[in-house]
């Protein structure tokens, strides 16, 4: 492993100041993406600034919004009674991330900041019309996810929490890669204050995206039959050893149909 310095941050602002003061430093949350990347030589940070002591974990439901602190672990979202009651699709999504040991360390902030094109949280954020709160500003999910592993975050900007508007109905269905458990295709659908949303992960050539053709169809009738036989546009699908573009295009339609059928 490459060598680096390690320091704890006491708050989000402190983390931001510290990381900006380093050569090529990185924030570390659960480390479930960053540490494997460092081990494989894909990341070579000079410094790691740990958010574990920055006071950023916790879940609250107030009025029409579920707010989840950036350092809240997947296991805590999966097992939170408040989230299960308010947005069962969200707790269910969290319980399907990776495996128990990954869920015991990995965080929502790390997952959202990383924007892996096959990750689950980006689909939940886009599919519910979430707002990403940083130490500096609020960013809507529609503006946040800008491409493969890229986001609207500026250098040294720290996510502090994510706010999810509570939908009338929603569901997430994932067709996992059987080896990695990341989404080969995952679709988060919702109908609520942010309109009708269909967010797709694992499939799009630029990462998570909204399937607007399905959204307009569903605004006519929210039922799975509306999506019978639909497909995504093959030319905007990723293609790799796990699945070819035409297969992904087909899966997006089928998984979206199942998600609408499962929505509560």
């Amino acid at each position: 492993m490459s060598e680096f310095n390690y320091a704890m941050a006491s708050s989000a602002d402190d983390a931001s100041t510290q990381v900006k003061g380093t050569g090529d430093g990185s924030l570390i949350a659960g480390g479930m993406t960053l540490i494997p990347s460092i081990k494989l030589g894909l990341a070579t940070p000079t410094d790691l600034i740990d958010l574990a002591g920055a006071g950023l974990s916790g879940i609250s439901v107030e009025g029409t919004t579920v707010t989840i602190g950036a350092m809240t672990r997947h296991v805590d979202v999966a097992s939170s009674k408040e989230v299960v009651n308010a947005v069962p699709a969200l707790s269910g999504m969290a319980s399907g991330i990776g495996d128990p040991q990954v869920r015991n360390r990995g965080t929502i902030g790390g997952s959202v900041a990383n924007n892996d094109p096959a990750a689950d949280y980006p689909a939940a954020c886009l599919g519910l019309g979430a707002t990403i709160q940083t130490n500096d500003r609020e960013i809507s999910a529609d503006d946040f996810f800008t491409g493969l592993f890229t986001t609207a975050l500026k250098e040294g900007e720290v996510i502090t929490s994510v706010g999810f508007p509570i939908p009338e109905r929603a569901a997430y269905v994932k067709f996992p890669n059987p080896a990695s458990r990341y989404a080969l295709v995952g679709v988060f659908v919702s109908d609520g204050p942010m309109g009708i949303r269909v967010a797709v992960t694992g499939a799009g050539i630029n990462g998570v995206y909204r399937e607007s053709s399905f959204e307009s169809a569903l605004s006519g009738a929210w039922e799975s039959a509306t999506l019978d036989g639909v497909k995504a546009d093959e030319s905007s699908m990723a293609s790799d050893i796990h699945a070819a573009a035409d297969y992904r295009a087909h899966l997006v339609g089928e998984i979206a149909r199942r998600a609408v059928a499962a929505s509560v």
Binding site: S2, Y6, M32, I35, K39, L48, D50, P100, N104
Partner: protein, 155 residues
């Protein structure tokens, strides 16, 4: 170098480690306990699973400095006074291991699983062990052992 102090299997231990020392290497090399294994480079196999503050984690994907001040349990801490932990005994009785490489991690993950869900169904046990790979057994006897161990742990 920093001094990392933590409680391992009930004993306070400390050693010098650089920031890039993984917890698994700290346990194996600095503390000399080689029961915890390394089976992959990609955080997928679970051979390295230990308990940190009551949660099973992959010790190959955590820095030793991140474990400062925590309570860690490794496979060496399961037996007491020469008696195997009920889950270890159940693995033995049910022939739940062949080469044994995955076993330390399997045991810790299984104990975490049934401590939090004492009545886990077969499906829940299989889902709960998704982070532990075994190249020998085909999992059937591991699942049987976890069911037997769970029953024994309930007493």
């Amino acid at each position: 170098m920093a001094t990392v102090s933590l409680t391992v299997n009930g004993k306070v231990m400390s050693a010098e480690a650089s920031a890039d020392t993984l917890l698994v290497n700290f346990i194996r090399e600095n503390l000399g306990m080689t029961g915890t294994h390394v089976g992959c480079d990609t955080s997928q196999c679970g051979a390295c699973v230990v308990m940190v503050n009551g949660d099973s984690v992959k010790s190959c994907t955590m820095l030793a400095v991140q474990a400062e001040g925590t309570e860690v349990t490794t496979v060496e801490g399961l037996a007491s006074n020469g008696d195997l932990h009920p889950m270890q005994q159940a693995f033995h009785d049910n022939h739940a291991l062949q080469c044994g490489y995955c076993t330390p991690g399997m045991l810790i993950s299984s104990i975490d699983l049934v401590t939090k869900n004492p009545n886990a169904t077969e499906a829940e046990i299989r889902h709960g062990l998704e982070g532990n790979l075994c190249r020998c057994t085909g999992y059937h006897n591991i699942v049987k052992a976890v069911q037997a161990g769970a029953a024994e742990m309930k007493g």
